[in-house]
Amino acid sequence: MGWTGKIGWILVIGLLLVALWAPRLAPHDIQAQDLAARLQPPSRAHPMGRDEFGRDVLSRLLYGARVSLRVGLLVVAICASVGTLIGALAGYYGGWTDRFISGFLFNTFLAFPGILLALAMIAFLGPSVNHLILALSIIGWVSYARLIRGQVLKVKELDFVQAARAIGASDARILLRHILPNVVQPLIVQATLGVAGAVLAEASLSFLGLGVQEPMPSWGKMLDSGRAYLTTAPHLVLFPGLAIAVTVLAFNLAGDGMNEWLNPQRPRPPS
C-alpha cells in the first residue's frame, strides 16, 4: 500500500479509537453550560474554545465523532448487505429478475439526487437518527448492488463455477461458497469509500436540521449553529469543518490505498 493509503488507515483507526473512548477523552461535560463564558476563543482549559452556550467545543467534537462514525458504519453495513443480496440475485439469475432490478430499480433510485431523497424521507417521517440511517440506507444500497451485479456476471462464467454447477451444487451454495468470496475485494474498497460518503451525508442533513437532534452533538449541527457567530467566534465553524474534512479524507485515502493494494492494475471504482 502507498504512503497515502497508510496515512488514511492510521487516521481511520485513530478516529475509531477517539469515537470509542470519547467519554474518557472528553475533558468536560458536553452539556455543562456557562453563559458568562459563551463564545470564548480557544484557551488552555478549552483548547477549541466554547460555543454559544459556553459548552466545551472539544468535548462536543469528540462525542460528535461517535455519532458520525456510528451512522457512517451502520449505513454502510446495511447498504453493503442489502446491495450484495440484490446485486447477486440480479447478476446470478439474469433474465427478468435482472431486467427488473438493474433496468427499473437501479434507474429509479438513481433518478433522484441521493441527498434529496434522504431529505424528503426525513422531512415527512420527522427528524431522528434512526430515520437518518434508514433514509441514507435506502439511497445507498444501489451502488453496492451495481458493483456486485457486475462482478457476479463476470465470475459466474468462470470454469470453477461451471464445475460446481456440473457436480450438482445448489444455487445458494454456488453463490455463497464460490461466487461471493471472489467478489468481496471490490466490496471492501467500495465500503471504505462509502463511509466517507455516509459521514458527509449525515453532516449535511444535520446541518439542515434534519439529522441528529439536541442534546446529541453532531459536527454538521455544530457547524450550522456556529455560522451565526462567524465574525466573533470563527472557531465554532473551523473545528467541526476540520473534523468532517479529516474524516472524509481519511476514509477516501484508506479506500484508495486498499484498492491500490488489492488490485494494482485496476482504477478506483466509481463512488
Partner: protein
C-alpha cells in the same frame, strides 16, 4: 439519422417508468407522515372541525386510490396543488424561485469546468511532478471539504477579512461568486481527477504519436486532438453531477440566503407545508431526469463509437 431517432425514442421510453416511479414516490411520501399530515401541520391545539375542514379541502378524506388518481391528473396538468400555509398555488411559488437555483447551478458548473480543465491538463502534462502533486492535493481538499464548511470559510475570508465580496444576498453578479465557488468546488475536484486520468490515457495513444510526428506543436496536439477525445467522459460526469449540484444547492442556498428552490424546500419542511415540499421535490427530481437523459443522448452524439444496447 434514422438510427439517431431510434436511439432517442428508446432512451425516452426508458424515462417513462422512472417518471412514474418518481411521481408515485412523491405521492407516497405524504402518507409516511406519522399520524396525519394535517394534524402535524395544524398542531395539537387544532379543533376536530378545523382538521376535518382542511382534510376535506385538500382531498385527504378521499380513498387513497382516488387521491392517487387525482394527484396524477393534477401533475399532468402542471398543477401542483396549493400550499398549506397561505393556500396559494405551489407551482407559482416554485416558478418564482426556480430561476435563481438554475442560475446558481449553471454558475457552479461553469466554475467547476473552468477550474478543472486547466488544472487537470496541467497535472497530466506534468505527470509525477510538483504541479501534478499540487493539483492532486487541491482535488482531494475539494472532495473532503463539504460545501457547508467551505461556504462559511469563504465568507470569513472574502467578506469578513478582505471585505471583497458580499456574504449573502441576490441580484448583481458579485452575489453569485461565493455561492457558485462553494457549490462548484466539489465538482471541480472530481472533474480535475477525471480530466487528468483521461488526458493521461489519451497521451499514450497512437494518434498522438502521429500528430507529434507530423510536427504539430504540443499545444495543438493537446488542445486539438487530446482534449477533444479526453473530454468525452467529462461530459457524462458533468451531466450526472448536475443532479448532485441540485442537491448541494439546497445547502449552499441556505448558507448564502439564496432565494432558490432549495431555500424554499427547507422553509416548507420547517413549516410542515407538505404540498409545497412535494412540489419542490418533484420539480428537482424531474429536472434531474431531464438533464441526465439529455447528457446520455449528447454522449452518444459526441462519441459515435458507443453502440445502443
Amino acid at each position: 439519422m434514422g438510427s439517431i431517432m431510434g436511439i432517442l425514442g428508446r432512451r425516452l421510453l426508458l424515462v417513462i417508468p422512472v417518471m412514474w416511479a418518481v411521481v408515485t414516490l412523491v405521492f407516497v411520501l405524504l402518507h409516511l407522515v406519522p399520524g396525519d399530515p394535517v394534524l402535524a401541520f395544524l398542531g395539537e391545539t387544532a379543533t376536530p372541525e378545523q382538521v376535518a375542514e382542511m382534510r376535506h379541502r385538500f382531498g385527504l378524506d378521499r380513498p387513497l386510490l382516488e387521491q392517487y388518481a387525482n394527484y396524477w391528473k393534477q401533475v399532468l396538468r402542471g398543477d401542483l396543488g396549493v400550499t398549506f400555509v397561505d393556500r396559494r398555488p405551489v407551482a407559482e411559488k416554485i416558478r418564482s424561485r426556480y430561476p435563481a437555483t438554475l442560475q446558481l447551478a449553471v454558475a457552479a458548473l461553469l466554475v467547476a469546468v473552468l477550474i478543472a480543465i486547466p488544472l487537470g491538463v496541467t497535472a497530466a502534462r506534468h505527470h509525477g511532478g510538483v504541479r501534478d502533486a499540487v493539483a492532486s492535493v487541491m482535488a482531494l481538499l475539494g472532495i473532503a471539504l463539504p460545501n457547508f464548511a467551505l461556504g462559511p470559510l469563504l465568507i470569513l475570508l472574502f467578506s469578513v477579512k478582505l471585505r471583497l465580496l458580499p456574504p449573502s444576498g441576490f441580484g448583481d453578479p458579485a452575489h453569485l461568486i461565493l455561492p457558485a465557488l462553494t457549490l462548484g468546488a466539489a465538482l471541480a475536484a472530481i472533474l480535475t481527477r477525471l480530466v487528468r486520468t483521461s488526458v493521461l490515457e489519451e497521451l499514450h495513444q497512437d494518434y498522438v504519436k502521429t500528430a507529434r510526428a507530423k510536427g504539430l506543436d504540443e499545444r495543438t496536439v493537446l488542445y486539438r486532438h487530446v482534449l477533444r477525445n479526453g473530454l468525452i467522459p467529462v461530459v457524462t460526469i458533468v451531466g450526472l453531477q448536475f443532479g448532485v449540484l441540485l442537491g448541494g444547492a439546497i445547502i449552499t442556498e441556505r448558507i448564502f440566503n439564496w432565494p432558490g428552490i432549495g431555500t424554499l424546500t427547507i422553509e416548507a419542511i420547517a413549516a410542515r407545508d407538505y404540498p409545497l415540499v412535494q412540489g419542490c421535490l418533484l420539480v428537482i427530481a424531474l429536472t434531474y431526469i431531464v438533464v441526465n437523459t439529455a447528457t446520455d443522448l449528447l454522449y452518444r452524439v459526441l462519441d459515435p463509437r458507443i453502440k445502443v444496447e
